[in-house]
């Protein structure tokens, strides 16, 4: 059973990593809008704009 003296600190290390990752995600605004991303998955993004699509629009 003494293996848990290794495993639990290891688990705590992973926990710390998860907390850091989450804090980073919160700070970079990933949780600010929870609505748009749900829609984005429904929309195709395969189609690239055709060449020349970057020109300013004709006014």
């Amino acid at each position: 059973m003494s293996i848990i003296f290794v495993l639990i600190p290891l688990g705590l290390g992973l926990l710390g990593a998860a907390v850091l990752a989450f804090f980073w995600a919160v700070r970079s605004g990933q949780f600010d809008d929870l609505e748009t991303p749900a829609w984005r998955v429904l929309l195709d993004d395969d189609s690239r704009p055709p060449p020349g699509g970057d020109d300013p629009p004709p006014d």
Partner: protein, 819 residues
């Protein structure tokens, strides 16, 4: 079948002249501007926008000229909404007008993402906020904004209020606390399970000590980071002499944690890390939900004024110039291009124009304005360029005033919240005393269990329906109403509105329009009614007489000349080469040389205007008060809701009776002075009725003040000056029945929550006091109760489907036609 525009969904009159080849079919378009936008969307490969959007786009206005946006490159203007980042890029915080659903934000993000110089772009469809990070060395902001305008949207340099930033920070902090508590709880529960199992299977003391130590390590940040809001709240409550629900919560957390730490170092006794951590996590969940509901409510209906543009085109002596709105002075003339938002309050200067005042009134029907009419900041100019003479700017505008009203009403505390707050204070004092008593009793009876039982009592009592859910229900309920164009000026109005048994209506301006309308056209000389009406309308377009407003806008094709107004009689002039007279019967008939026609009388009810030419009388136009559209249905719905209706008017019995008959109201009082109206309301109140007074708020303020709940109907500029509790921003009464229903629902949910809290505590407290609940069971029960009442209160934020579509155009069936 009429065709609808692919882009904006407007009906197109046949024949359709503009079409666009898109997704394998030809779709009609309404204007050159919409065509340009739709073509651009198609050519960028973003046709999916039309498939997935849930609301039609705003009509394109063709305001994508790059020159207009170049003003945004000026440094002093950018200072207000652009921040420079250390890596040389800049971030602009803008509002995008016209964003109506998630597909819109997708369209902008996809179209702008690949543009050179754009580093990052995010559009939030809920608040229509856009964050645009760009590289000023590669591109200019004005150019980027022009591109967004080319997609049919109107970027505005909004003011990001301090409140928004604070809200975001609060949300992020709440999330961090929540995740620390959640992860911590999962860990500590794992160790706790191991220890419970180990207690049965002879776990070695060494491992047990280790697990306790690790539990303490994980629980410490949960208590001291995630638990901070509870401790802070408890401290605030104690200092203010009003112990809130935070006090027993904090005591329980602190006691459980301190005892567990003590026992860990002692190496004997029980540890309660699991209970403490679980308690913190579930309570944080409830707090976070309540906070989200509150932010959503504020973001949607509050802070109206930030929708105003920050730049305006001033017509100076040296021609038009762009400048910041704050630099404008009253009396300046401002040019508002079609599709632009009016940046100031003022008067229309030199043209007639149509405005969309939906930001204020929730009603998207265009409002027709003539020269000299008041124009409100925040309304959108629809058709032609208009010039507005500036009257008020910034914080002085009606929009800003209404925004402040909403904020003040929110800050106020309804009577019920006051009461529940006082009750909560007593409740908590009681709980603390009870815990002390129970502790003392157990100390005498079974000292080793005393601590555990006191902990369970502290944890299990749940004042959350009093302290958390009731205010949340009021906030969310008021915001849901505000979204429907019903503003509450004091928080208690929701309660009085739900209790009202009688509604008394003023007539003019409330049930009927302020201006009269034509109810009947009687052709006399054999002409066609519509043609005669057009002739009369053309003539009346030159008249300043109040009755002239009853006639529809004149057709441009009819040339009008030689107009002479004869006061007291009517108006004479040449329309399309024909000499006509419009006015009293004698005046209109006097143009004829032929003998007097058969005796004709004015119509029985209202007034009549006669049209005549050289051959005699041509037509009679009956003019009477018009009942506002939708009024009859609204009154029927109110009667259906069990309210007694009555009309109290200062007008003569004839017209009042006619209106009452039309609307099916049996109780009506005519020819009442304001004081008599007030007496009427007082009499009803003495009979134990709870009376709501509905008026236009202009001449009946004494009655409004005397009623239990005063509701003002109105539109636009006069709104901010009312003394009413409740303002219906739309032009009619349509929103009154849903408002009453919603108020009743809010109170219903508040009562439900209170009953639940009573029932729960009656069951749980004795169980805990008799030692039948372990602390962790108590924590679970209290948390579940908190979450339940909070969820129940947040249900109010959902609108009934009918109302949700009332202010926004319904989804167009365009997507269905695309493959």
């Amino acid at each position: 079948m009429t065709a609808t525009c692919l882009h904006c969904g407007a009906a197109i009159r046949e024949p359709v002249t503009r079409t666009l080849e898109i997704a394998g079919g030809r779709r009609p378009l309404c204007s050159a501007a919409c065509e340009a936008v739709a073509t651009r969307i198609r050519d960028d490969g973003l046709t999916d926008f039309y498939r997935f959007r849930t609301a039609a786009a705003a009509p394109a206005t063709g305001s994508s000229g790059t020159a207009r946006w170049a003003a945004y490159d000026r440094e002093q203007l950018q200072r207000e909404f652009v921040t420079s980042l250390p890596d040389g890029t800049r971030e602009a915080d803008l509002l995008v007008q016209g964003v109506r659903c998630a597909a819109c934000s997708w369209l902008i993000e996809r179209a702008m993402g690949p543009v050179a110089g754009v580093r990052e772009i995010a559009v939030d469809p809920l608040t229509t906020r856009m964050r645009l990070r760009f590289d000023p060395r590669v591109t200019r902001l004005g150019e980027l904004l022009a591109r967004i305008a080319a997609l049919g949207y109107e970027p505005l340099a909004g003011t990001v209020e301090a409140g928004d930033r604070a809200g975001l920070a609060e949300r992020r902090a709440g999330l961090r606390r929540l995740i620390i508590a959640g992860l911590g709880m999962s860990e500590v529960m794992t160790y706790a399970t191991a220890m419970y199992a180990g207690a049965l299977q002879d776990m070695s003391a060494e491992i047990r000590e280790f697990l306790r130590l690790v539990s303490m390590l994980v629980a410490t940040p949960v208590v001291f980071y995630s638990g901070v809001p509870f401790f802070a709240g408890a401290w605030r409550g104690m200092r203010g002499g009003r112990p809130g629900m935070d006090l027993p919560v904090s005591l329980a957390i602190a006691a459980a944690y301190a005892a567990s730490v003590w026992h860990t170092f002692q190496g004997s006794g029980e540890v309660y890390f699991d209970s403490a951590v679980m308690f913190v996590f579930f309570l944080s969940c409830a707090r976070f939900l309540e906070m989200s509901g509150r932010h959503r409510a504020l973001g949607l209906s509050g802070a109206l004024a930030r929708h105003l543009p920050r730049v305006a085109t001033r017509l100076g002596t040296a021609g038009p110039e762009l400048l910041g709105v704050t630099e404008l002075e009253p009396g300046d003339r401002v040019l508002v291009a079609p599709g632009q938002t009016v940046p100031v309050d003022g008067h229309l200067d030199n043209t007639t124009a149509r405005f969309d005042e939906s930001l204020l009134t929730g009603e998207s029907r265009p409002v027709h304005k003539r020269a000299g009419d008041a124009v409100i900041a925040g309304s959108i100019n629809l058709l032609e360029a208009a010039t507005v003479r500036v009257e008020r700017v910034g914080a002085g505008t009606v929009l800003a005033q209404i925004g402040r009203l909403v904020t003040t009403a929110r800050a106020g505390r309804p009577r019920l919240v006051e009461v529940t707050d006082r009750v909560a204070t007593w409740f908590i004092t009681g709980v603390l005393l009870l815990a002390a008593l129970v502790g003392a009793a157990w100390w005498l009876y079974e000292p080793e269990r005393a601590f555990e039982v006191v902990l369970a009592v502290l944890v299990v009592t749940c004042p959350c329906a009093l302290a958390l859910a009731t205010p949340a229900a009021f906030t969310v309920g008021m915001s849901a109403l505000a979204r429907r164009g019903v503003l509450l000026r004091r928080a208690g109005a929701l309660e009085s509105l739900s209790r009202a048994t009688d509604l008394v209506f003023d007539k003019t301006g409330t049930l009927t329009e302020h201006t009269a309308g034509i109810t009947h056209v009687e052709p006399l000389g054999g002409g066609e009614a519509a043609a005669l009406l057009a002739l009369a309308a053309a003539l009346e377009s030159r008249s300043e007489h109040p009755l002239a407003r009853a006639f529809p806008p004149a057709a441009a094709a009819l040339a009008v000349s030689d107009v002479v107004a004869v006061p007291g009689s009517g108006i004479e002039g040449c329309v399309a080469g024909r000499r006509l007279r419009l006015g009293t019967r004698a005046f209109a008939g006097a143009l004829a040389t032929a003998p007097e026609q058969a005796a004709l009388a004015d119509s029985a009810g209202g007034q009549s205007v006669w049209l005549g030419d050289a051959t005699g009388l041509l037509a009679r136009f009956d003019i009477a008060e018009q009942v506002r559209p939708g009024t009859a249905a609204a009154l029927a719905a109110l009667r259906g809701a069990g309210l007694r209706l009555a009309i109290a008017s200062g007008d003569q019995p004839g017209p009042v009776g006619a209106v009452a008959d039309t609307l099916g109201v049996t109780t009506w009082h005519a020819a009442l002075q304001p004081a008599a109206k007030l007496d009427l309301v007082r009499t009803m109140q003495r009979d134990g009725r709870i009376v709501g007074m509905v008026g236009d708020g202009i001449n009946d303020s004494p009655v409004l003040a005397g009623a239990d709940v005063a509701i003002a109907v109105g539109s636009g500029a006069s709104l901010a000056h009312h003394a009413a509790d409740c303002l219906l921003l739309g032009a009619g009464l349509e929103m009154l029945p849903p408002a009453v229903r919603h108020a009743r629902r809010t109170m219903h949910i508040v009562r439900q929550n209170l009953w639940w809290a009573v029932a729960y505590n009656v069951v749980a407290v004795p169980l805990a006091a008799t030692g039948m609940l372990a602390p962790w069971v108590a924590a679970l029960g209290m948390s579940a109760s908190s979450l339940l009442v909070t969820f129940n209160a947040l249900r109010l934020g959902r609108l009934a489907p009918a109302a949700a579509t009332a202010s926004t155009p319904a989804a167009q069936p365009v997507g269905a036609a695309l493959p």
